[in-house]
């Protein structure tokens, strides 16, 4: 297709990536469910195969879109579609994290105090769980998975907050630099962002090792363990995805893509990184500190 197709809405002839993505997600989550619920050593491999399919989809799909964009196949209508796509994607992300934060708030504010005898839970406490005080953090009256310690917010989590915040500062500098058409500056600060993101993920992994090996804080440590690992774990996935996307954006800037007045791909990824950072601030405040 040539530039003559500007008035036409570009539709790819073969869109195989959505189904590849669906298969990848299914395999990943079946693997994850298996891995969480059984002791056999084969099962985590299924999850890794799924993640592999997802990575393949990402690189293939991103590659196709970049190629189509650089071949100038997209008109302003397609541009509007990308913006609409972004807002629906972010809407689903907000709902996703709202569900997990909601579970945390509900457990902390309502269900745990009820089990401890607050409000209308007096009979529940006296009859079913006598002696249970319902103080957060808790693994519930059943003391699931035994006693545990929690992560000190002013060590690793504080460092991680600083790292992620610094990475938001660097991506903002890169953003301003791109708008001012300072390419080398943009590239430098984008690379800095990816490195900071990678170090964040490394420390997050360190924290999990510490939690599992030293503190006996595990995914099955009752309501605290579940909410802690679901929130921080899915956030970690988002940082990983964000870092991959910024790495790809960096390569694109090096190749000379994007213009100061036209760089939706860059801006969307930058916004996503800011979103992931704000989610972390919420996590740092509500999971670790308050």
């Amino acid at each position: 297709m040539s530039e003559a197709s500007k008035d036409q809405y570009y539709v790819p002839h073969l869109a195989q990536w959505p189904i590849v993505g669906s298969i990848g997600l299914t395999v990943t989550f079946l693997g994850a469910i298996q891995a969480l619920n059984s002791e056999t050593s084969i099962t985590p491999w299924m999850m890794f195969v799924g993640i592999g399919i997802l990575l393949w989809m990402m690189f293939g799909w991103f590659g196709d879109v970049i190629k189509e964009s650089e071949e100038k196949l997209y008109n302003t209508q397609v541009d509007t579609s990308f913006r609409m796509g972004m807002i629906w994607f972010i809407f689903s992300e907000v709902m996703f994290f709202a569900a997990f934060f909601g579970a945390l708030f509900y457990a902390r504010t309502f269900s745990v105090p009820w089990l401890g005898g607050e409000g209308t839970g007096l009979a529940t406490n006296e009859v079913l769980y006598p002696g249970y005080e319902g103080v957060w953090p808790t693994n519930g009256p059943g003391e699931l998975n035994g006693r545990f310690e929690i992560i000190d917010p002013y060590h690793l989590p504080l460092v991680n907050t600083m790292l992620l915040l610094a990475s938001s500062v660097t991506i903002t500098i890169a953003h301003h630099a791109l708008r001012a058409n300072q390419r080398s500056q943009t590239i430098f600060w984008l690379i800095a962002t990816v490195v900071l993101g990678a170090v964040f993920i490394f420390f997050q992994a360190e924290e999990y090792v510490l939690a599992y090996q030293e503190f006996n804080l595990k995914l099955n440590s009752g309501i605290y363990g579940s909410t802690f690992f679901m929130l921080t774990g899915f956030h970690g996935f988002h940082v990983t995805l964000g870092a991959i996307m910024i790495a790809i954006i960096t390569v694109r800037v090096i190749k000379g893509h994007f213009k100061p007045e036209s760089h939706f791909g860059f801006e969307a990824v930058a916004w996503y990184w800011h979103f992931v950072d704000v989610v972390w601030l919420g996590l740092f405040i509500f999971v670790y500190i308050l």
């Binding site: 972010i90 760089h263 930058a270 916004w271 601030l281 500190i289």
Partner: protein, 70 residues
Amino acid sequence: MKYLIVIILLFIIFSLGSAMFYLVKGQGKSQNTVRFLTVRVALSVVLFLFIILAAKMGWIEPNQPVFMKP
């Protein structure tokens, strides 16, 4: 102090949301997206420093249980 932290966080979310609004509405020419993102980063740094100060001064207590040793 806890409420102040939450209020600053709400301002951060508001500026992030505003940046999203201009990202989706504009055609990439407006400065508003990058402006609101800059505001959001600046507010986050302020919040972070405030949390450290609040913890140092003892205005907020981390939810560290002493009764839960393994």
